[in-house]
């Protein structure tokens, strides 16, 4: 199979459907615990399995289509109430979704497929379909609806009717009339209103002779409330609510327009599902990057116009022409920022998908390790740049696995400590201005500070003397040092830090910051502070030794005259006192080895904050504030530490963007590590 654009498109769409299946399954699992699974949930699952079957057979990916077909069969039985939705069945369904993920991934890489495991899964699915079958009881004995109504119900509607009766719900007929031109809107309103107090079982067009421009429906509803309550919920007196009593005739026999196709034709919802998918456009993120670049260059053109308009104004005074040019360039500025915001918006995606993948993976890990884990997700609607979300998957996975593997104790151990048997892992996200805070929290055993220090000393990462001086936070930071721990040495005790240096590097690449907090026996929280985007950022432009640099404004806390503050030297390092706290002062002349004929002329300090840490950067000049498009230095220069990328200012000038996270890390590493290695 050639990996053309269509295939990539298919794989992306298939993955989307699998994600949707997963989302529905997680919800279904929660509902199953609470008692009842929402029938719409099962319908959604069924529809998605059907779509997946459709597109995978179109692309002759037969393992996926076989599995999807079998899954669809089971789900169909579930929605018809023939098979019950219990924990065992859900496990099989989850296994299927996971398998889809692997298969699609394998198809993308052109890798071989494990046929054996698919056969096993198919067998498990068939077992669910057979094992869970329930005998339907006679419908006629349960309800007093006319044969003319009962005979037109689809199998699914019949099942829902039976369910409602079984639960002792009352049945009602809502007699309603709508204008022909927009009856679908009216029906949808009724659907929405009823959903809060009951369930719409079927909608039957009524054949009562009425106005030719009006269409009437008899809507069969099951509910625990009274007729009066229903009327109130509907908020529409024109709808007549008729309780279904004995011999209640629902509708006249005779013509029956096929608004609700029966049996096999019930495929209509699928068509709707496919339509809604095709309303979205999948775009290669690089195309957006290109657009973003263009916006950046338009921004430069705009600056040029503004300069010109300034020049004209200076030379000609306030001529009409100058005023107009000024006005139009302001107009251009506004439109440009709208365009920029628009492209930004396209790049933003909610974290929900990523979180779902984490939940799925966490389920798997906890099962493998024999832990009982409850996973709580919050803030999943928080949006982040698509690229950041993608890059976040690996480090986040690592943190979640760590939380379960090293944090959550085995059930018996937890019980012995008086904790609940199931551990809690909380995955949360929250927007904070230009940043997003993502947290992975567990209520496990926490980090053993003493042991952490011991290991760090053993590994020569810190001197014993220095280890004594470290506070908690600094001690936790040792976990991020490369070579702090390997799996072998960590699994012996309650450590963490498996590959934490890798996680930290990845987060730093995203201009993010990682922080750890932990209380022994209580649990651990790892927080990631990430910028919402890496594409366009406001920056402070500064000069040092006649070099111009940009500092991302989201790192800048304040700027000071160096004469305003007291600069002292502690152990050969310059620090300044800022409202009672000591902030290290770094000079880029030293850090970057900049040549400058004149002596240091640093006049300002830019106070930069990253996470909980602050440093001051000595600069000669503050040039101003400007939105910049950060560009990478290219694949060939990626390794310059302390430089996040380059940006263009007006007048063909290219400047470097400082990576404050990295510079601050260097500073901190220099302080935490023994002399000589820093």
């Amino acid at each position: 199979m050639a990996k053309g654009g269509a295939t990539a498109e298919f794989l992306a769409e298939a993955q989307e459907i699998v994600d949707a299946l997963n989302r529905e399954l997680i919800a279904a699992e929660q509902e199953a615990r609470g008692g009842d699974v929402d029938p719409d949930r099962v319908n959604g699952l069924f529809r998605n399995a059907h779509s997946l079957k459709g597109i995978s057979s179109m692309f002759s990916l037969s393992p996926v289509s076989h599995l999807a077909h079998e899954l669809e069969t089971v789900l169909d039985s579930m929605r018809l109430g023939k098979v019950s939705i219990n924990a065992d069945a859900l496990d099989v369904l989850f296994a299927c979704v996971e398998k889809f993920g692997t298969l699609i991934d394998a198809a993308g890489r052109g890798a071989k497929i494990d046929e054996q495991s698919i056969e096993e899964l198919l067998a498990r699915l068939r077992a669910v379909a057979v094992g869970g079958e329930e005998k339907p009881s006679g419908l006629m004995e349960l309800v007093d609806l006319g044969e003319d109504v009962l005979s037109v119900l689809t199998e699914y509607e019949e099942h829902r009717l039976r369910e409602n009766v079984k639960r002792g719900r009352k049945l009602f007929i809502l007699r309603s009339a709508f204008d022909l031109s927009n009856f679908d809107v009216g029906l949808a309103e009724i659907d929405a209103a009823i959903k809060k107090v009951g369930e719409v079982i079927t909608k039957l067009p009524s054949s009562k002779p009425t106005d030719p421009n009006v269409i009437s429906f008899d809507i069969l509803v099951g509910s625990d409330t009274t007729a009066a309550e229903l009327t109130r919920a509907l908020g529409d007196e024109r709808v007549e609510v008729v309780p279904v009593g004995r011999r209640a005739m629902v509708a006249q026999p005779g013509e029956r327009p096929h608004l609700e196709p029966a049996g096999e034709e019930a495929a209509e919802p699928d068509a709707a599902g496919v339509r809604s998918v095709s309303r979205t456009v999948r775009v290669d993120i690089r195309r957006l990057d290109r657009l973003m670049n263009l916006v950046g260059e338009l921004g430069l053109t705009k600056l040029a116009f503004q300069r010109l308009s300034e020049v004209i104004r200076r030379q000609q005074g306030f001529s009409e022409l100058a005023a107009e040019l000024h006005k139009e360039s302001r107009n251009l500025e506004r439109r440009l920022s709208e365009l920029q915001a628009g492209i930004m918006e396209v790049r933003m995606v909610p974290l929900a998908n990523l979180f779902e993948r984490m939940v799925r993976a966490a389920r798997k890990v906890s099962r493998e390790l024999g832990r009982e884990v409850r996973i709580i997700v919050s803030g999943e609607t928080t949006e982040l740049d698509k690229l950041i979300v993608e890059e976040l998957a690996d480090p986040l996975m690592h943190l979640v696995r760590n939380a379960i593997d090293h944090g959550i104790e085995p059930p018996d151990a937890r019980a012995a400590q008086g904790k609940s048997r199931d551990g809690l892992v909380r995955l949360s996200a929250a927007a904070m201005g230009n940043h997003v805070l993502v947290e992975v929290q567990d209520d496990g055993r926490g980090i053993d500070v003493a042991r952490t220090l011991e290991v760090a000393v053993e590994k020569g990462l810190v001197t014993p003397e220095r280890a004594h001086e470290l506070n908690r936070r600094e001690a936790f930071n040792l976990l991020f040092l490369p070579g702090f721990s390997t799996r072998a040495s960590v699994s012996e005790y309650s450590g963490r830090g498996v590959g934490m240096d890798v996680v930290k590097t990845k987060i730093a690449e995203l201009s993010g910051v990682i922080d750890v907090d932990s209380a022994e026996g209580m649990g651990t929280t790892v927080s990631l502070t990430l910028p919402i985007t890496l594409a366009i950022i406001p920056a402070l432009i500064v000069q040092v030794a006649r070099h111009t640099y940009a500092i991302p404004l989201n790192n800048v806390q304040e700027t000071l005259w160096l004469t305003q503050v007291q600069v002292r030297t502690i152990e050969g390092r310059q620090v300044l006192s800022l409202r009672g706290s000591t902030v290290p002062l770094i000079d880029l002349r030293h850090v970057f080895g900049l040549k400058d004929e004149q002596k240091s002329t640093a006049a300002y300090a830019v106070i930069v904050g990253v996470g909980h840490n602050r440093i001051a950067l000595a600069v000669d000049n503050l040039v101003g504030q400007q939105d910049i498009v950060i560009k990478s230095l290219g694949n060939r220069l990626r390794q310059v530490s302390g430089i996040a990328g380059a940006a263009e200012l007006g007048g063909r000038k290219t400047i470097l963007v400082l990576d404050m996270v990295e510079l601050l890390n260097e500073m901190m590493m220099g302080a935490a590590a023994p002399t000589g290695t820093g």
Binding site: N293, L294, G296, E297, H547, L588, V591, F592, G593, L594, K631, S632, L633, G634, N635, R636, L637, V640, S641, G642, I643, G645, A646, E648, R652, K653, T654, I655, L656
Partner: protein, 177 residues
């Protein structure tokens, strides 16, 4: 590269306006046979070097170069070429040639670099020349002293001796630790 004037593509591109090639070069270019190499010759210090012309994307005047700290000494810095960042290598420093005063005809040869272009600072572009592949001789010992891994061979063009550089090897300079 079958244009009637092989330099045309380069000199009219980018920031370069008029054809400023020093001599009337390669006017008679025809589709080059596989046995032939087309070389772009240039000077660094007083020595003439050349790249295979297919490795070159364009030739531009030297814009303001932004120095990159903590980088290799031969990395002059970066420039922005139509919106993308391109690193610039100072060939004089790579080849350990003596520094020379500001030269007027300085150019940057942009190597294609498989999608990640790299600029090479040279003193002056000399000519486009065709040479039979067989006519490329091994590098004489006298030249081998410096950066020999970058040298592909030597081509004779009448009186002139052109040192052929391996563009792949030049690109690899940036990768080496």
């Amino acid at each position: 590269m079958t244009a009637s004037d092989p330099l045309h593509d380069f000199f009219v591109s980018g920031q370069e306006q008029a054809a400023s090639g020093p001599d009337t070069l390669g006017r008679a270019a025809v589709a080059s046979a596989a046995s032939r190499l087309e070389l772009l010759g240039f000077y660094v210090a007083d020595e003439e070097y050349a790249f295979d012309i297919v490795d070159i994307q364009e030739i531009v005047k030297v814009p303001e170069v932004t120095e990159v700290p903590r980088s290799k000494t031969f990395l002059l810095g970066i420039v922005s070429l139509r919106g993308s960042i391109v690193p610039i290598i100072d060939l004089r420093r790579v080849l350990e040639l003596p520094p020379s005063p500001e030269v007027v005809g300085r150019r940057i040869l942009v190597l294609r670099g498989g999608g990640d272009p790299v600029g090479i600072l040279v003193d002056r572009v000399s000519s486009v020349a065709r040479i039979e592949r067989d006519a490329v001789e091994p590098v004489p010992r006298a030249v081998q002293r410096r950066a020999s891994e970058l040298l592909k061979g030597v081509g004779r063009l009448g009186e002139r001796m052109v040192i052929l550089l391996d563009s792949e090897a030049v690109l690899r300079l940036l990768e080496a630790a």
